[in-house]
Symmetry: C2
Subunit: 211 residues, 2 copies
Amino acid sequence: MERTQIPETTIHRLPVYLRCLLQAQQDRMPVISSVGIAEMAGTNAAQVRKDLSYLGELGTRGIGYDVEALIEHISKSLGITGLRRVAIVGYGRLGGALKSYTGFSDRGFDIIAVFDADPAKIGTDADGVIIRSTDELETVLAENRVEIVVMATPAGVTQELADRVTGAGIKAILNLAPVRLHVPDGVAVRQVCMSTDLQILSFYLAQDGMK
Amino acid sequence: MERTQIPETTIHRLPVYLRCLLQAQQDRMPVISSVGIAEMAGTNAAQVRKDLSYLGELGTRGIGYDVEALIEHISKSLGITGLRRVAIVGYGRLGGALKSYTGFSDRGFDIIAVFDADPAKIGTDADGVIIRSTDELETVLAENRVEIVVMATPAGVTQELADRVTGAGIKAILNLAPVRLHVPDGVAVRQVCMSTDLQILSFYLAQDGMK
DNA sequence: ACATGTGAAGCTATTCACAGCC
DNA sequence: GGCTGTGAATAGCTTCACATGT
């Protein structure tokens, strides 16, 4: 299979396009143009066409893109045609909020395991899943064939637990703890840090105020 | 004041550098080199030097960067020398998790108001702050001189509430709802969407599996 | 006529490499 | 000798503009 070198930035926009297309589908639009997608996604038509062209020749000249077919194609590119098996490490307030959030299952992600280190929580129900001990991390991840792990752990223990997660063969981590994770080559990490985002917003406020 | 055109990407890295420097400060390092920062931040030394050069000539040739002074300088650039006044709209599970998260106040953000639409919640205590009705949004934002608003609302009502938030003069929004916000010019928005992040991770898994 | 797909141009960001300073 | 600051070179992304196909 060829090394289709899709730009990083394009990959980041594919989920946005997908959301727009699902909206268009709900609105009963059979076909949509690059201009239409661009308006919904907050970008421009040339960008949309270039991005989609990396996935193949998906449109029809003179007509536009078939909504249904394009949803199918982007979903396939994103590897979410079936359900992706996800585990959450750390069932504190944030982990709990995520587990109960219904938006994930709607988008092809199934949270099938939850871990915590607190003996008082272990064995209790977490919104439909039994909380397992972090001691059992490796075995439970393997048993459930987990593909993606979400780290919702205290900063101090995150790297240590992430090491065990990657050691267990996990290749994708969403890190919600405010620490930079070091992982082996071949492991994808996405970092979510709201403090960072607030600081970036603060920068723009500071800039604005002084002009 | 000059139009110091700091690249967007540099701005995004400043909070990362700041975190590294605070770590170095805790470790009692008086001085750090661009190589040292780069290692902690997960980038390269040239990048660090170029980024920091946008803020001024902050280092000393042959020596490196004074940790204390650099922390001071980056904090000033990020506008977080004092406390930034933040409000959360939507006190569901996610909003609750954010309010109770101590990492914000440590980093210069003070959550001084919380809103919800549910009459059962209004007037009750949310971790030290009384929950206010979204009916009072404009007045309470003004009274408390709120600078940044975090939207932790259901997708369906987010745009409508964001319109009122910007109407009240707020210039910075952190949006946790899975919708693309449309805001007037001059308003900064940061979007956090974990479904999107999971989809990006899924893309890399799909790529990997087929090589 | 209309909308895609795509080379080419233009722009932005990263990396290199070395002069300048401690 | 060591490390910063920075012009120059490189790489990567976005936008343009038009040929191509319906």
